[in-house]
Symmetry: C3
Subunit: 203 residues, 3 copies
């Protein structure tokens, strides 16, 4: 692997780590996990086989990514976000539950889309899609899929506003908004917020 | 210890680990802790002296079990469940609190009964009994003892349904239910759900 | 450093650790962090450069203290409290967010005052002051600054009572209270609870 930094206390068993990625201490990346280029992975993390992480992702300390978790490019994972992949877990060693764990059918995926942010200690139920550029507040418990650009807080998490690609909160006047920081314009139609493309802005 | 796997980065100071148990990396088991047979213990865990874990238990990554925590057979502990043993903690090094910490009277136990499941990031207040085969949702904050077979969600956690021994949700028609997956039958009397024994089913 | 215990699996890169402080396993203290005398620091912790911890502080396992976090003397940090220092985080490697991370202006501080207790799994939003001798319940999500001596629970955390310096709950009769354990007297004026000084008690 080219120009990858791995702290001496960490264990990286995959060859699939992209260029310029840093992996800090006490972290374990299993064979079969895949981490893109230019990422920063904090301490005390765990990447199970079957995890895919894109490029330019920041993963703070204490994160455990299970088989089935995919992070697209540019995602931010705050400290100790809880991912899950089993909707009603039992110990597979428990006789009454063993049958369900004979196959991998119990395993549900999680997809975190481009540029999304997951706040500290957030909890993500299994089988959900976390929309692009959304922002999940610290401590939120996410029980449903999340629309792009949405700001969610609470337990269970609910949409309380909308944010720009840069993270700044948007003030929706009617169904349009302009980011005060980066001037990106947005339009909201049928509960979906989307950025206006340059051509649309110009017309 | 017979046929026990301990990852080379882990520290196990007790001899009380049962046969066929696996202990993964960066985990510390103190002298005086006891772990049963056929368990799976994830990474970045801590077992304090005074902890007792039964057989066939699955403990995912990042769990810290304090003195006074007992897990019966077949329990599932999701990633980073928070156990506690002090109802109103202060730093024992703080002069105003030092008196209380001269004895161990402040320490409250936690008992997790046979086959129960604790979801990712759940928080268990001290001094509680977590009933057999109950299921605590990810992110729930458990502030009262939990009846067997109950499904709990939220902060504070409240009972929202009932589950079978296999984990499947039960649909109570009146006061009886049959698991759609494993055909186990249940009856509910005075807020207590219990499985019908075979003799009762036959009669 | 004089009489400092550092577990052999830990990495301590600062010389600023006070006398009689213990640092347990799998913990990393960065150069530029500062920890006072007579502290106890648990396993799987991380102290970033820019962290300041006073004397007589107890920090349980799994805590990550980021640049900008200050703990005064006698503070208790339960297992896996989430501190934060960015109000709307994005991956700094994301092109749309890179501008904001060119300076350190995004970084908000956290100040935890003398004798406060933070319960297991609590989440502390950035930019707040956590008042002296307050008690944050396990699992609380703290979104506003906290008055001294207040007891907070829930998500978002709200004040539900008041506690003594020793941690015991106070029963406010009107606007005055006396701790049943240590006899310290308190008076409440305009939503602020404060201990009566000895002279005031005598008069």
């Amino acid at each position: 692997m080219k120009n990858v930094y791995i702290h001496p206390t960490s264990i990286v068993e995959t060859d699939n780590v992209g260029e310029n990625t840093h992996i800090w201490g006490f972290t374990h990346v299993m064979r079969g996990a895949c981490i893109g280029a230019n990422c920063n992975v904090g301490e005390h993390c765990f990447f199970e086989a079957g995890v895919t992480v894109g490029a330019n992702v920041t993963i703070k300390n204490g994160n455990e990514l299970w088989d089935g978790v995919t992070l697209e490019d540019g995602v931010f994972v705050g400290p100790r976000v809880s991912f899950t992949n089993d909707l009603y877990p039992r110990s597979p060693r428990l006789a009454q539950a063993a049958k369900r764990y004979r196959t991998r059918d119990w395993r549900l995926p999680t997809l975190v889309r481009y540029g999304a942010s997951l706040g500290a200690g957030a909890i993500i139920l299994p089988g959900l899609i976390i929309g692009e550029f959304c922002m999940i507040a610290a401590g939120a418990v996410v029980t449903r899929s999340v629309p792009g650009y949405a700001l969610l807080v609470g337990s269970p998490a609910r949409v309380v506003g909308w944010v720009c690609q840069c993270g700044k909160r948007l003030d929706l006047a009617g169904s349009v908004a302009t980011c005060p920081d980066c001037s990106l314009q947005f339009v909201k139609e049928a509960d979906i917020l989307r950025p206006l493309m340059q051509e649309q802005v110009a017309s």
